[in-house]
């Protein structure tokens, strides 16, 4: 049985703005893509990884906040997404806690160890 439905509050919020913001976000994403290509292929030593991750995080945030409407999403949806990211980090940090503190003899010869950090 179909009901005549009113506009949902969520779509009301989305109607307030036009499509322009999507183009702005798209342009920003392209700019950041070019930036990461340039900085990625430069030799910045150990800063390469953090910079690449930072730019990627900014790009991802733009997609999540604006394309995926996270800015006007209910709190539960935001919590779900953030929590999944947090636990992904838990997985990474837990494993890296192991890798960083293992006895060097149990690691491949090319892995960085405490000594190589000091060198």
């Amino acid at each position: 049985m179909a009901h005549e439905a009113n506009e949902t509050p969520a779509s009301k919020a989305e109607h307030v703005h036009g499509p322009g913001r999507y183009f702005v976000v798209w342009a920003l994403l392209l700019v950041f893509t070019v930036t990461t290509i340039i900085t990625g292929r430069m030799d910045l030593g150990s800063a390469n990884l953090p910079i690449a991750l930072l730019i990627a995080t900014v790009k991802a945030s733009l997609v999540v906040l604006f394309f995926m409407h996270m800015t006007d999403a209910p709190g539960a949806n935001r919590l779900v997404f953030v929590v999944s990211l947090v636990f992904s980090l838990v997985l990474l940090l837990g494993v890296f806690g192991d890798l960083w503190t293992r006895n060097p003899m149990s690691l491949p010869p090319t892995a960085p160890t405490q000594e190589s950090f000091e060198r």
């Binding site: 499509p19 999507y22 690449a52 990627a56 995926m68």
Partner: protein, 216 residues
């Protein structure tokens, strides 16, 4: 396909929901939960990448230089643009512009195909060069220890991502079919939103894969 003659589609209220608002809220929450599971799925692969990059830094650095940067960059731009068009498609249908929505969805699907084609060409090059995962590796250009694992990680991550591109594309084709049949309107368009959300996730994963595999 004109809607002016037919009745404007309205959402169907399931028997156990009190209002459409609650039903829509539930459906969106369900979708975000599902996206959360996808994040955790790819987290495992990013873990694999991180671990082996940590072990074999030089090989990963060298091997990334041998990936086709132009293919990767083009794919990135293709996916970002497809994200734009799918977001615009949802925006269009919330304003009742069915034809515009259908056109934008089509463009998104074309982008998805383009992505897969470029990926396919890249894979083909790898097979020819011998830049293959694990025990199959026999690519002479990168000789640092652990190079084979770079390609293991490369094929696993881009492979699983490509599967998600195919799944996302299929969902969008289904949504497109329903749009063309006039199922959606200003009052009923949640499936378009959900299909778009899945597609954005596919884009998100690539936003991280691209620099990690091709650049650094």
């Amino acid at each position: 396909m004109s809607l002016s003659d037919a009745q404007v589609p309205v959402p169907h209220l399931a028997h156990h929901y009190e209002t459409i608002e609650k039903q829509d809220y539930a459906v969106r929450l369900g979708m975000w939960l599902f996206l959360g599971t996808e994040v955790l799925l790819f987290a495992g692969l990013f873990l694999g990448y991180s671990v082996y990059r940590h072990f074999y830094h030089e090989a990963f650095h060298e091997a990334s230089r041998h990936l086709d940067l132009w293919a990767g960059a083009t794919n990135t731009i293709v996916l970002i643009t497809s994200s734009l068009t799918v977001a615009l498609a949802y925006h269009a249908i919330t304003q009742g512009k069915t034809k515009l929505c259908a056109g934008l969805l089509t463009f998104t699907i074309v982008c998805a195909c383009a992505f897969l084609v470029i990926k396919g060409i890249e894979y083909h090059h790898k097979f020819q060069e011998g830049a293959l995962p694990g025990k199959w590796y026999h690519y002479g250009e990168v000789t640092a220890p652990g190079a084979n694992l770079f390609y293991t990680v490369y094929f696993l991550t881009t492979g699983l991502h490509a599967i998600h591109v195919i799944v996302g594309m299929s969902i969008l084709i289904w949504i497109l079919a329903r749009t063309l049949r006039g199922h959606f309107s200003t009052t009923y368009n949640v499936p378009v939103e959900l299909g778009g959300l899945y597609w954005h996730l596919v884009d998100l994963v690539w936003i991280f894969l691209f620099p990690l595999l091709y650049l650094i």
